[in-house]
Structures are given as structure tokens and as C-alpha cells.
Amino acid sequence: MVDEIPPAIRAGTQVTIDSVRRVFETGLVAVDGIDLLIPAGQFLAILGPSGSGKSTLLRMIAGLDQPTSGQITASPFALLIQPDGVVTSNPLSYYSDTHSRDQAYVFQDAHLLPWRNVLGNVALPLELRGEPRAARLAAAREAISRVGLTDSQRLYPAQLSGGMRMRASLARALVTQPKLLLLDEPFAALDEITRQQLDEQLRRLWQETGMTVIFVTHSIMEATFLAERAIVVSRRPAKVVLDHPIDLPANRGSDLRGRPEFAREMAVLMTALQRGTGELA
């Protein structure tokens, strides 16, 4: 019998958003009736103008904020990826009540603890969960090497550049091997080159891990480059204007940004974004 390449088993979270509305105490409607099914293992970009309710939506998915009405459920799935690329997913029902332990959140800025070096910062999530010291340091070193910061692991945040700080923040999110990674405009404050490098890195990390990624951004180029599927939301209150599968190859290099098909996908999102912000064009 010929040796078969065994299927890879990965895990991602499926997120179901069911007519979710969020009204703040001030009467401000941040999110107005959003329905979404985000399958396990998908890379979803939520694209919208600044000040739309997209961050609020992300916070609700994380459980940091509660919807005024509607429901959000997150259920982990096991993804079976066959060598020929076919993906089948099976629900991991015994996980569902501990789903919060399997998610990570990356904020707009790095938000590292300034009194800890990179290693100490990246190990923090495992420390808070009570992992033994040796195990969490090993996991932290592994996560740090994934984002290419091994040479800087003893440095403090004040000694790092903005891009390196964000890498450390990313490593901190990855250290728990989350099944759902939520990112809220994480690279918005970085210069264009650093941002593109981090986008490429994130895309690779996603391909390696099979986790579900929800990435909030106001950059059309970033959304196009990163995601399998992009949702364009309107100015507040956030409503879905466009739900669009990004038709680009799975392996994306930096040269992709110059291709005509990339420009075509960007144009689709651009049109929707302009529609959502009230016919600015």
C-alpha cells in the first residue's frame, strides 16, 4: 500500500451573529441588525469608515461588550484538511462552554506591559491561566520566533520600534494557540512598509494554524490582501453594505498588490465603501 499523507487536523471557531443591535446608554446606535455566519477557519475582514460600529461589533464577538438585542455564539470546530485541500469540519461540542479560553484579541496599539520585556509580555496570557513557568516560557519563545522577534525577546517595549511592538503583541495573541483571533485595526498606526510586512506575516500565520481570523480595518488594500471574505459596513449605525468573497489565490506574496486582479477586488470594496459612507464619490 502506498503511504498516504495523513489529513491535518486544525481547529477554528465558527461565529454566528444573529440580528445583533447595540444601542449605547447615550442613545447612540452603534450596530443595527447585523446577521453573519463566519465559518470555522475563515479569514474575514470587516471594512468600514472610522467611527462606524465595527470595533463595537468586534468587542461583542469577544464578549467584552454585550448586544442590546440579538445573539452571538462562538462554537469551536475541528477542521480536517485532506492532502488534496478538501476541508471538512466537525463541531467540537464539548468545547463550547470554554470557548472564551480559545480566543485572542489584538488591539489598535500594541498595549504591552511596559515593565516587562518581550518574553514576559508574550508569556503573560499563559501566566494568567496558571500554566507552569517552564511550559509558558517555552510556548512564549515559540510564539516569538513565529513573528521573528527572537533576537529582541529580552528588550523592553520602550526599546522597540512600533512594528516590533506590534509583532510582540501578535506573538502574545498567538501564544495560547487561539481558535479565534480578533484584530481591531492592529497595524493602523504603522508606516506602509511595516504594515505590508505584518500583513504578509499574519496571512502566513493564519495559513499555518487554521484558526478563524476576524480583522477590522479601514484600509481597502489591507482587507483585500488579507481576507478570504470581506464585509463592508456603513457609517454608524453599522450595517452590512457588501458581503464579498475575495477572489485571489490562497498563497499571496507582496507582488500580488501590483496585479490587475488585486486592483479589481479593491475597486469592488471601494465602491461599496463609498456607498456605505453616503455617496462621497
Binding site: 467584552l64 484579541y105 488591539f107 498595549h111 506591559l113 520585556n117 496570557p125 494568567l128 491561566r129 520602550a158
Partner: protein
């Protein structure tokens, strides 16, 4: 390196020499009687003459200052943590904390004598009373300014309240706490001296007692020497605090990097 030190030390040293020379000259030229103001040379003589008394008093005052200051650090931080724990607690108690600060220590010192007698305990309480508020106020401000994103992160990873306090909120407040501690260090010396004026024990006299008795008994030079030592004690406290702050914050806070 040497140039830097010279430029750092020389100007204040020059000011000191000019000041000492000028006061010596002025007091001699105007023939100001010794019981009104002592010229620096007389202060120096008094330092030698009353050396055992002065050193004993310095030790006594240092002890009271350190006890009062330590109480301010521990209780001040504890009170700030309690005040920061909930808005309702803050609303209920903070006004009284502010009120407590406005009570003049000179006014309550006689009461302390009634309650605790004269001596170390009452003096240390005076030092505590004047120095605790800056610790509370600054630590509280630091605790309340904790980065909300980091607080969210701790929540997401299921951190318990103890971990939140010791791994996030107290370290976050540290630069602010140190600002309070630096102020408290200076104030605790002042509180001790004022405390000694009223609640000091004549059997174990501190610098405050020597200052008062020196002035009363026309030993003005000795009083000046005691004042000088009290100032040096305050300076030493501040320097120690600056050093501690530098060592703890040097990696991460702008205030410690200069």
C-alpha cells in the same frame, strides 16, 4: 564624563560658597547678636560642640521619620487600592480623605499627646498624618488611569482580581505612586520636626526638640545646626526615593530615563 560632573556639581557648589560667605559677612558686618542669627562659622563650631546631642537627635528624628513614612507608604497604597476598587467606595470616602489632609498637624498634635503621650509614637503619627495624602492621591490617580485595553485583555484571559491588582494595576500606577512618595518623603521630615515641637520627648530629644530648646535658651547656633541636619535628612530621603524610583522604572518610564 568628568566634564558632565563638573557642570553638574560646580554651579550649586558655587552658589553655596557665595551664600555662606555672604551670610557670614553680613552677620559680622551688621553685628547681629548671636542669639538672633548664627553665622556659618558659629554653626560649624556648634556642630563640633554639641556633636553627641545632635547625632542622637538626628537618629531619633530619622527613626520617627522612617516609621511615619513607612506607615504612609503601606497605608497610603492600601487606602488608594480600596478607594479605586469601586466608584461607590470612592464617592463615599474620598471627600473625607481630602478633608483629613486639610486638618493642620499642629492642631491635632496636642491631642496625640493626650492619646499616646509624648515621644516616638506621637511624633511618627504626625509624620504619617502630613505625608499620607500625597501617596493616596497619586496612587489613586495611577490606579484609575490603568490602560482600559490591558484591563480588557486581563479580563479575556480570565485573570482573577489578585492578578489584576499585582500584575497590572499596581505596576501601572507605580510611576504615579513614586511621584507621591517623593513628596511624602520630604513632608514626613517636616511632619516629624513639627511633631517634635509639640509631642517630642525631652528624654529622647529629636532635632525638633533641639531646635526649640536652642532658640529658647539662646543656643541659636545649635538650633541652626539642628535645622541644617533636618534639611539634610529631607534631602537624603528624597535622594533615596529618587534612586529607588530610578531603579524600578528605568526600563520603561520616561520620568526615570533622564
Amino acid at each position: 564624563m568628568i566634564r558632565r560632573w563638573v557642570s553638574l556639581i560646580l554651579p550649586p557648589l558655587l552658589v553655596l560658597i557665595v551664600f555662606i560667605g555672604a551670610s557670614e559677612a553680613y552677620i559680622r558686618w551688621r553685628n547681629i547678636p548671636i542669639y538672633l542669627a548664627a553665622p556659618p562659622s558659629a554653626v560649624q563650631e556648634a556642630m563640633v560642640e554639641y556633636r553627641p546631642e545632635l547625632l542622637g537627635a538626628l537618629l531619633q528624628t530619622t527613626e520617627a521619620t522612617l516609621i511615619g513614612f513607612a506607615a504612609s507608604v503601606v497605608l497610603g497604597i492600601l487606602i488608594a487600592v480600596l478607594l479605586a476598587s469601586a466608584k461607590i467606595v470612592r464617592n463615599a470616602f474620598y471627600p473625607y480623605t481630602v478633608f483629613f489632609q486639610t486638618v493642620p498637624v499642629v492642631a491635632i498634635a496636642p491631642l496625640l499627646v493626650n492619646w499616646f503621650g509624648t515621644g516616638l509614637l506621637s511624633v511618627a503619627i504626625c509624620a504619617f498624618v502630613v505625608s499620607v495624602f500625597p501617596v493616596i492621591a497619586n496612587t489613586l490617580a495611577g490606579l484609575l488611569s490603568t490602560d482600559p485595553a490591558l484591563a480588557d485583555m486581563f479580563k479575556l484571559y480570565g485573570a482573577n482580581p489578585v492578578a489584576r491588582l499585582f500584575k497590572l494595576r499596581l505596576p501601572w500606577a507605580m510611576p504615579s505612586t513614586f511621584t507621591g512618595l517623593r513628596i511624602a518623603a520630604g513632608l514626613s521630615v517636616i511632619g516629624t520636626i513639627v511633631g517634635e515641637f509639640i509631642t517630642g520627648d525631652l528624654d529622647t530629644p529629636g532635632l525638633g526638640v533641639l531646635i526649640l530648646s536652642g532658640i529658647k535658651n539662646s543656643k541659636t547656633a545649635m538650633a541652626f545646626a539642628a535645622i541644617l541636619l533636618a534639611s539634610l535628612l529631607g534631602l537624603a530621603m528624597m535622594s533615596l526615593l529618587n534612586l529607588a524610583g530610578y531603579l524600578m522604572l528605568r526600563h520603561w518610564h520616561a520620568s526615570a530615563r533622564d
